[in-house]
C-alpha cells in the first residue's frame, strides 16, 4: 500500500512557486465532483484507509503541513480576514494540531472493538461493537475560521478511516486556494481532495452519494444542505451559527468578566460562531460592566483599533454592510461605532438601550458589535433565553454557583460555559455542536471519530449448543414460554432479555 507522496524538493518548489506567483485556482464544478467522488470512492473500496498505520501517517502529514507552512497560513488568513498572527496560530493551527495529536495518540484505543456485557447464557458468544468507516465524507467549512472548520472534521474523518472531500468557503478564498495547493503534497492523492465551489453548486454536490455530510456555517445554508442530503438518505452533522446569550450577574468580578467577554467578542472582528452575541446584564452591574468593557477595548486595541495589529477586518463588503445596517437601526452607541468601508473596518462597538424587538436581536450579529440588554433578575434572563431558539452556547458570569447552576439547568444549548467564553469549543475532549436550531451532531476528539464511524453490532455464536435454543422454536408451548420468562427474569440484571434466545 503506497503512502502519501512525501514533500520532495520538486513538490516543495512547486508549492512555493505557486504560492509566490498566486496562480489562480480553477473552480470545481459539480460534474468534476462526480468524477472526483467516483475516484475517492474507488480508493475507499480498495481498502486504502482501513489500516491504522495509514490513518496515522495521514494525521502526521496534517501536522507537518501546518508546521511547515505556518507562515503561508498566517499570510492567507491575514489577506482573507486581516487575522492577527496570534489568532491564526492559536485558534486555527494549534487547535488542529492538538486534535491531530490527540487522535494519533488515541487511535489504537478508539479503533478497538468494544466488548459488551455478557451474562451466563452469552458467555460462549462473542458480543462486540466494531467501529467501521462510513465511506466518503463531505466537509463544508465556514469562512470565519476556515482552517479549523475544514481540518478538525477532517482529522475525525481520517481517524475513523474515511476518505474525504473538503470544501472550504469561497469567501476565504486565499485560505481555500492554499489548502487546494497543499493537500496533494501532504495527503493521499486518491483519498483526500479539496474542491472550490459556491453554495449553489454545493447543494448539487450534496445530492450525490456521500456517506456523511459535515456542515459548519449559518442556519439558512445549513437548512438547504440538510434538504439536499435527503435524496440519498445521507446523514448530516450541522453546526450552525446562533445568537449566543451571555448573562452577567450582579455578583461577579466585573473587570475580569469584562476582559474575558471583550476578548471573546472582538477577536476575529467578531466573526466567530462561539462568541457571545449579546449580554443580558443585571441592572445593578450594567454601568460598571460598560465602563470595564470600555477600558478593556482601550487596553487591547489602543485608542484607535484601526491602527492595532491585533484587530481584524470584515471578510467582505456584504458582511460589512449587513452589520452596519444593524448598527444604524437601534440602540445607542456607547463605545466605537466607526465604519470605514474601504478598509472593511468596523470599530469594536458596544450598544446600549437595545430592546428584544430591535432588528439587531433578530439575527446573528457576526461582527464586532455587542449589544447590552438589561434584566432585573436571573428569572427574567432565563425566560428571555428560553423564548428564543436554542443557541450554540450559553454563557454565564457569576461568583454565585447557585446562579450558574440554575442558568445551566433551566436553559438548553449546544454547550455551556461559566465565567469564560469560547474555551469550551477549543477542547478536544468536549463534544462541540448545536441542538435544535443551532444544529445536530457534534465533533472534536472522540466525538468526531464516533460521529464519522458506523458502530456495527456483532454477535458471533456457535452452532454447537442447540439444546438450549430449542425453547424458542415453534410449536410454542406454555411450558417453553414460562421457562423463558423465568430465565429472562433471572437475567434482568444483565443487558438483555432472555439470552436463551
Amino acid at each position: 500500500m503506497s503512502g502519501p507522496p512525501s514533500p520532495s524538493p520538486k513538490n516543495w518548489f512547486r508549492a512555493l512557486r505557486r504560492t509566490r506567483l498566486g496562480e489562480p485556482c480553477m473552480k470545481t464544478y459539480p460534474l468534476e465532483c462526480v468524477e472526483l467522488l467516483k475516484r475517492t470512492r474507488g480508493a475507499f473500496q480498495a481498502g486504502r484507509t482501513v489500516n491504522e498505520r495509514f490513518r496515522q501517517t495521514q494525521l502526521e502529514a496534517i501536522v507537518r503541513m501546518l508546521v511547515e507552512h505556518e507562515c503561508d497560513f498566517v499570510d492567507a488568513l491575514g489577506r482573507d480576514l486581516h487575522k492577527p498572527r496570534f489568532e491564526t496560530v492559536i485558534s486555527e493551527l494549534m487547535l488542529v494540531k492538538n486534535e491531530a495529536v490527540h487522535a494519533i495518540n488515541s487511535l489504537k484505543k478508539w479503533m478497538e472493538p468494544q466488548r459488551v456485557e455478557r451474562n451466563l447464557t452469552t458467555t460462549l458468544d462473542d458480543c462486540f461493537v466494531m467501529n467501521e468507516p462510513l465511506g466518503v465524507v463531505l466537509i463544508i467549512g465556514a469562512w470565519c475560521s476556515p482552517v479549523h472548520f475544514c481540518l478538525v472534521p477532517l482529522v475525525g474523518a481520517i481517524a475513523a478511516g474515511n476518505c474525504a472531500i473538503v470544501s472550504p468557503s469561497e469567501h476565504s478564498s486565499h485560505t481555500a486556494e492554499l489548502l487546494h495547493r497543499l493537500f496533494p503534497s501532504y495527503l493521499d492523492n486518491e483519498c483526500f481532495h479539496v474542491v472550490l465551489t459556491g453554495l449553489n453548486e454545493l447543494t448539487e454536490i450534496v445530492e450525490l452519494k456521500f456517506d456523511h455530510v459535515f456542515f459548519i456555517g449559518n442556519k439558512e445554508d445549513g437548512t438547504r444542505i440538510a434538504q439536499a442530503a435527503i435524496r440519498m438518505l445521507t446523514p448530516v452533522t450541522l453546526v450552525l451559527g446562533s445568537k449566543n446569550p451571555c448573562y452577567v450577574d450582579e455578583h461577579c468580578d466585573i473587570p475580569i468578566t469584562a476582559r474575558r467577554i471583550a476578548w471573546a467578542r472582538f477577536h476575529n472582528a467578531g466573526q466567530n460562531m462561539v462568541a457571545p452575541d449579546y449580554i443580558l446584564c443585571h441592572a445593578d452591574a450594567k454601568e460598571r460592566l460598560l465602563q470595564a468593557l470600555r477600558c478593556c477595548i482601550m487596553q487591547f486595541y489602543g485608542s484607535d483599533p484601526r491602527e492595532s495589529r491585533s484587530f481584524g477586518r470584515m471578510v467582505n463588503l456584504e458582511c460589512l454592510n449587513r452589520t452596519r445596517d444593524l448598527l444604524g437601526k437601534c440602540g445607542k452607541v456607547a463605545v466605537g461605532g466607526k465604519v470605514i468601508e474601504a478598509e472593511k473596518y468596523i470599530a469594536p462597538t458596544i450598544l446600549t438601550e437595545v430592546t428584544d424587538s430591535d432588528p439587531i436581536m433578530q439575527q446573528e450579529i457576526f461582527g464586532p458589535v455587542l449589544p447590552i440588554l438589561t434584566v432585573n433578575s436571573l428569572d427574567e434572563a432565563i425566560t428571555f433565553i428560553n423564548q428564543r431558539e436554542k443557541p450554540l452556547c450559553v454563557y454565564a458570569y457569576s461568583s454565585n454557583c447557585k446562579v450558574i447552576s440554575r442558568l445551566m439547568t433551566e436553559t438548553s444549548s449546544g454547550s455551556f460555559c461559566s465565567n469564560d467564553c469560547v474555551l469550551q469549543s477549543l477542547l478536544a475532549v468536549l463534544p462541540f455542536g448545536g441542538v435544535g436550531a443551532s444544529g445536530m451532531g457534534s465533533y472534536h476528539g472522540r466525538q468526531s471519530f464516533d460521529n464519522l464511524s458506523h458502530r456495527k453490532s456483532c454477535l458471533l455464536r456457535s452452532t454447537r449448543i442447540e439444546s438450549i435454543t430449542y425453547l424458542r422454536y415453534p410449536p410454542y408451548e406454555d411450558r417453553n414460554l414460562s421457562l423463558m420468562t423465568w430465565a429472562s427474569n433471572l437475567s434482568q440484571r444483565s443487558q438483555g432479555w432472555c439470552q436463551i434466545l
Partner: protein, 491 residues
C-alpha cells in the same frame, strides 16, 4: 387549531413545565408502562391476533418480553445514564469542572410500524421517557386493532399530556409532521423515511430512521446445515417473514443448495406442521396489498418448496425459491414475506462481492464454523449489524446498538444507545473568575512571548489520573527511602 397541533402544543407546554426533569418522575412513568404491559396482556394479545394472526405465546415472546426487558434495564440504569460524564482535563482546565451533561431534547415524535406494533412503537418510547422527553406516539394504522387498543388504554397508565397517542392514516401523519418536534423516530420503509426527513428538515429536526433492506444470509458449505437451517427457518418465517431483520435471501454454493432446501423443508414441517395454514403458530400477511405485492415477487422464479396461497386469508405458505439470480424480480425489493430465495455463488469471495454491489443492509448473517471467514466478512462488508451462526437475536441484547446505515437508516437505539440518541449531550465547562494571570497570554496586544506560553499550555494534554499516580509513586518512593535510611542508621 387541528387535533394534532393541539396535542403537540399541550405536550410541549407540559415538557416546558419541567415535569420530566426529575428522575423520580421518569421512573414512575416507566413503571406505569410496565404495569400496562403486565395488566393488559390479554388485550394486547387479542389485538395482535386480529392484526397478524399471532398466538398469545408469539405475542409475548416477540413483543412484550423484549419491552419488559428494556423497561427493567432503564429502571436499573437511569441514574447512571443521566449523570454528568466527566472528561479529561488539560493544564488550562486543571482547576475547572469539565463534563458532558445529558439533557432531554423536548418533544419527540415516534412513528411506529405495523409488523411488531407494540415492540417497535413502545421501545423508542422507553428511550424517550428515560431521557426525559415528552413523546407523541403515532402507531401504524395498518395494524389497526393494536392502534385502537394503544389509544384507548395507554393513557390510563401514563401522563396523558406528555405521552399522547395519536391514531390515524396518512393525512393525520402529514398534519403531525407539519408541527415542530425536537426529534422524530421513524420505523418503516425508506420511501416514507425520505418523506418524513423532508417534512421535518425545514425545522432542522434530527431524525432516527429504522428502515429495512435485503438482509443477506451466507451459508458456508462446511457448516452444520441442520442447525443452520433450523435457525434460518425460525428467523425467516417468524411473523410470516414480516421482520425488518429477517434473513431476506440465502447465498450458498451450488453443491449444498439441494441439502439446504431439504433441511429447510424438515424444519418447516417440524415448526409449522404439514399444513401451516391450519396451524395456529403460523402468521398471516398483514393485508391484501402486501399479499399481492409478495405474490408478485414470485414471478419468474422456481418454487422449490411451498408456494401455496389463499388471498381471502392473506395466507402464503412458507416458500423457498431456488436458482434465483441477482436480476430476478424477487431480488429487486425487500421481500417482507415468507418467501426465501436461494442464490448460488462460487464461494465467499463472490458472496462478498454480491453483497457489496447492493445497498447496505440492516443485518448480515453468516453461517460458518470458520472464524477467519466470519472475520473476513465483518471486515469486507458493511451492515447495521452482523450475526454469525444465528438470526435476529442481536435485537434482544440491549448493550448492542440497533440501527442501520445508508439505505437501511440512521441513528440507533436499545438500552443506553436509545437514551443517548434522544438526549442532547451538552458540553459544560465551569470556570471561576480567578487565576486570571493564566488568561493574560490570550489577550491583545499580542506578543511573541504570549504566543509561546499559549503554545505550551494548549498543546500539553494532561492526564490528571496519571499525575495523581505519579504523585503517589513519588510519595511512596520518598517514604521507602526514609524507612530505609532509618533502618540503615539504626544498624
Amino acid at each position: 387549531m387541528s387535533r394534532e397541533e393541539t396535542v403537540v402544543v399541550r405536550a410541549r407546554r407540559a415538557f416546558q413545565s419541567g415535569k420530566t426533569k426529575p428522575l423520580a418522575f421518569r421512573v414512575l412513568q416507566l413503571k406505569g408502562l410496565h404495569r400496562f404491559i403486565s395488566e393488559r396482556r390479554k388485550e394486547i394479545a387479542e389485538a395482535v391476533q386480529k392484526d397478524l394472526h399471532k398466538t398469545e405465546h408469539g405475542t409475548e415472546l416477540f413483543e412484550t418480553l423484549g419491552l419488559e426487558g428494556e423497561i427493567n434495564l432503564a429502571l436499573e440504569r437511569l441514574a447512571e445514564w443521566a449523570a454528568p460524564r466527566p472528561v479529561e482535563k488539560n493544564l488550562l482546565t486543571i482547576s475547572d469542572e469539565v463534563y458532558i451533561q445529558p439533557e432531554p431534547l423536548g418533544v419527540v415524535l415516534i412513528i411506529g410500524a405495523w409488523n411488531y406494533p407494540w415492540a417497535v412503537t413502545l421501545q423508542p418510547l422507553v428511550a424517550a421517557i428515560s431521557s426525559g422527553n415528552a413523546a407523541v406516539i403515532k402507531p401504524s394504522e395498518v395494524s389497526s386493532h393494536s392502534a385502537k387498543v394503544m389509544e384507548k388504554l395507554l393513557p390510563l397508565y401514563l401522563d396523558t399530556e406528555l405521552y399522547p397517542v395519536v391514531t390515524g392514516g396518512v393525512p393525520e401523519t402529514q398534519e403531525l409532521l407539519k408541527q415542530r418536534f425536537d426529534h422524530v423516530f421513524y420505523t418503516g420503509n425508506s420511501t416514507v423515511g425520505k418523506v418524513v426527513m423532508a417534512a421535518v428538515a425545514r425545522h432542522l429536526t434530527p431524525v432516527t430512521l429504522e428502515l429495512g433492506g435485503k438482509s443477506p444470509c451466507y451459508i458456508d458449505k462446511n457448516c452444520d446445515l441442520r442447525v443452520a437451517c433450523r435457525r434460518i427457518t425460525w428467523g425467516k418465517f417468524v411473523n410470516c417473514g414480516q421482520t425488518c431483520i429477517a434473513p431476506d435471501y440465502i447465498l450458498c454454493e451450488p453443491s449444498i443448495q439441494g441439502r439446504v432446501v431439504e433441511e429447510l423443508k424438515k424444519c418447516i414441517t417440524e415448526f409449522y406442521t404439514d399444513d401451516p395454514k391450519s396451524f395456529e403458530d403460523y402468521g398471516r400477511i398483514i393485508n391484501q396489498h402486501h399479499y399481492r405485492r409478495v405474490m408478485a415477487l414470485l414471478e419468474g422464479s422456481t418454487v422449490a418448496l411451498g408456494g401455496d396461497s389463499d388471498e381471502t386469508q392473506c395466507y402464503i405458505a412458507p416458500t423457498v425459491l431456488s436458482d434465483v439470480t441477482g436480476g430476478s424480480k424477487v431480488m429487486q425489493e425487500e421481500i417482507f414475506g415468507p418467501v426465501l430465495p436461494i442464490i448460488t455463488v462460487s464461494g465467499v469471495d463472490e458472496a462478498i462481492q454480491f453483497i457489496n454491489e447492493r445497498e447496505k443492509p440492516l443485518a448480515l448473517y453468516v453461517f460458518s464454523p470458520d472464524n477467519k471467514l466470519i472475520r473476513r466478512v465483518i471486515a469486507e462488508t458493511s451492515s447495521g449489524a452482523l450475526l454469525a451462526n444465528d438470526c435476529l437475536v442481536h435485537f434482544t441484547i440491549s448493550a448492542l446498538p440497533f440501527g442501520g446505515l445508508g439505505n437501511s437508516g440512521m441513528g440507533r437505539y436499545h438500552g443506553k444507545h436509545g437514551f443517548d440518541q434522544l438526549s442532547h449531550l451538552r458540553a459544560c465547562l465551569i470556570r471561576k473568575l480567578k487565576m486570571e494571570g493564566v488568561n493574560t497570554m490570550r489577550y491583545p496586544p499580542h506578543t511573541a512571548k504570549k504566543l509561546s506560553w499559549a503554545r505550551f499550555l494548549l498543546l500539553k494534554q494532561v492526564n490528571v489520573g496519571k499525575l495523581r499516580q505519579m504523585a503517589q509513586v513519588t510519595l511512596f518512593a520518598a517514604l521507602a527511602a526514609f524507612i530505609l535510611q532509618r533502618f540503615f542508621r539504626s544498624t
